[in-house]
Amino acid sequence: MLKITEELLFKTLISIVFFIYFYLSLKFPSIPMQEGYGAGLFPIIISVSFFLFAMKDFFTNDRKEFNKKENLVLLGFLIIIFIPIFFIDYLGMYFVLGLFLLYLNHVLKISIIKNTIISLVSIIIIHFVFVKIFKLSFPEIWFME
């Protein structure tokens, strides 16, 4: 019976990417034209090479078991990272960075008081170094603009 492992899922994902890439490559001309070969030639060569290498790799033994707990931690991390970044134009860079610092310090089991102090100090240092000295312009909170 086919056992679902993390490596198998990863390989399947790579294969899907390959098929999409190959399908899109075929849409560009690869025949000789006045200015040389078309834009599709190189992607097609890459696709063929990739297919040859992946064929061998796909059928080797999968050793890495699917670890539910570890993948859930990663999923949680990604959800907490992606949502604020998606709304960064409304939330502002400082708020988003502060949120990430608080979250990561919390996950890494740093006490609430230390967490708050580290996060605040980090944001202040970032403001002085990148905004005041290096003149970087961050996305600001919508009501500040």
């Binding site: 990863f10 040389g36 990604l78 980090s122 970032i126 961050f138």
Partner: protein, 498 residues
């Protein structure tokens, strides 16, 4: 030429080089962090500094990082970076027997001397190789990039196929955006942002730094460095004893450093191979009944080799534009940020930048000597900081670094997505370096490949008609045949076992 070495140095540059060396030693001394992460973290500052200062600072991290990896290897038996993979074999027992200061002194002094010899090799060989590389046209450059990528892909991890798959993924990503010859938009899904292509800087930041942060969330281990139970003066006595021992082992230092420089110059080999090879050679050549002396030689040899590798690794990056390891790949990124294009023309087009980089290397080695002779006790206190306090700050720096490139959140998305991809690649044995190098060199490879076909009016045999390109392709053919033969041999062995 000598005057050009130090013409760019001013107080800011010198201070930043010093900071870079100290930062490099500290970063690679903390388990879980590597020299590459150190260089990646300081890359965002490159946007705001002049080229001499930013490259000097990154060079400092490179030189300091190679030496710092020995600290956790000796004190807690965990190599701080792959370069120190064999240092712990002799270093840890020495530290256990109360000679931690002596072992650290041996490692750091050998690293410093190794880096110095690496710099001399770089200074002597680079101009010659660069002159030779000036003969390279589109056909030769295409063959050279192909050879470089193949070497990196095949040598970077255990599975050659996984290395090549990683390389192909990098080449696929490199084709996103405008085609280099006809400017046809490709794989951009109709968006203007994707039309510019995917910059390799956020990809590098994400792929090198983010997996470490994600891993720290999953495995929340913290390492405790033991105290040497010695005061500052006693520590310094140990370091000076080490200096005497290193002076007596001059042949070992020179031999190991030359091995390191040569191996470093071959793309994809890396510091771990340099350290292991020179260690094995030392074990065969050095015969002594004194166990302490043999232990010392076992620390001196890999440390000299891995630090001299930094000089060797800069040779293909500066003269051919092909970075051979992760740190030189990031440094290539820093060079391009400042509009400097590494390659055969670099020495003649940007002599100040080229010799300035070598000058920064020399100053970094000088600071490493000072830090080694008087700073080891301070480093031992500084590295006791817990890794968990650093990870959130590193993540925030990754976001700012990616954003600062073009003031665009698109690059932040790219950094996070590629960070997650790298995390799964690492877990499943796919090397990251071939993907990054293919992303950097992919555009050059395609451009030169299609230019060659235009020159030859579509005849692919042009690659076999030019002597330099033919030689490079023969080397590539021999290398691939060797890999194929090894693969068939393994397959036969597996079948026999079954």
């Amino acid at each position: 030429m000598i005057d050009l070495l130090f013409s760019n140095l001013n107080i800011l540059t010198i201070s930043l080089i010093f900071f870079g060396v100290a930062f490099g030693v500290l970063v690679s001394a903390i388990p879980g962090l590597t020299t590459t992460i150190g260089v990646v973290l300081l890359l965002p500052f490159s946007f705001y500094l002049d080229s001499a200062s930013s490259l000097g600072m990154l060079m400092g991290v490179f030189v300091g990082g190679m030496a710092g990896g020995a600290i956790p290897a000796i004190l807690i038996n965990i190599p701080g970076n792959p370069a120190s993979i064999v240092t712990n074999i002799n270093g840890y027992p020495l530290a256990q027997s109360g000679k931690g200061d002596f072992a650290l002194g041996l490692a750091m002094i050998s690293s410093t001397l190794g880096a110095l010899i690496g710099l001399i090799v770089l200074y002597l060989i680079s101009p010659e190789l660069s002159d030779f590389a000036l003969k390279f046209g589109a056909v030769e450059q295409c063959a050279l990039v192909l050879l470089g990528l193949s070497l990196v892909s095949a040598l970077s991890e255990k599975s050659v196929m996984k290395g090549y798959i990683s390389m192909c993924l990098g080449l696929m990503i490199a084709t996103i955006g405008l085609d280099p010859i006809t400017a046809t938009p490709r794989f951009n899904f109709g968006t203007v942002t994707m039309q510019q292509g995917i910059s390799f800087i956020p990809v590098m930041i994400g792929m090198f730094a983010l997996p470490t942060i994600i891993e720290s969330l999953i495995i929340t281990n913290d390492f405790k460095f033991p105290s040497l139970n010695k005061n500052y003066k006693e520590c310094l006595i140990g370091v000076y004893d080490a200096l005497k021992e290193v002076i007596q082992s001059k042949f070992n230092i020179v031999r190991s450093s030359i091995i390191g420089s040569i191996i470093g110059a071959v793309p994809g080999t890396g510091s771990a191979i340099a350290a292991t090879l020179s260690y094995q050679l030392t074990k065969k050549l050095e015969k002594s009944e004194d166990n302490d002396r043999m232990s010392s030689q076992g620390i001196i040899s890999p440390e000299a080799a891995n630090s001299s590798m930094s000089g060797g690794a800069l040779i293909p990056m500066l003269t051919l534009g092909i970075p051979g390891d992760p740190v030189t790949a990031v440094m290539l990124g820093a060079l391009t940020i400042h509009g400097l294009e590494p390659g055969p023309l670099m020495i003649s087009t940007f002599p100040e930048a080229y010799y300035g980089l070598l000058g920064s290397f020399a100053v970094s080695v000088f600071f490493l000597i000072i830090l080694t002779l008087i700073g080891i006790p301070f480093f031992l206190k500084a590295i006791r900081i817990k890794t968990k306090y650093l990870m959130p700050v590193i993540f925030v720096l990754c976001i700012i670094g990616s954003f600062a490139l073009r003031n665009s959140m698109f690059d932040v998305w790219i950094m996070i997505i590629f960070g997650v991809i790298a995390f799964y690649m690492r877990r499943n044995g796919y090397p990251i370096l071939p993907l990054i190098l293919a992303l950097i060199l992919g555009k050059i490879l395609e451009e030169q490949f299609r230019m060659s076909l235009i020159i030859s009016l579509g005849d692919p045999l042009i690659f076999f008609k030019k002597p330099i390109s033919l030689t490079l392709l023969i080397i590539l053919g021999c290398f691939l045949s060797y890999i194929f033969a090894k693969f068939v041999k393994n397959l036969m062995k597996e079948k026999k076992n079954v």
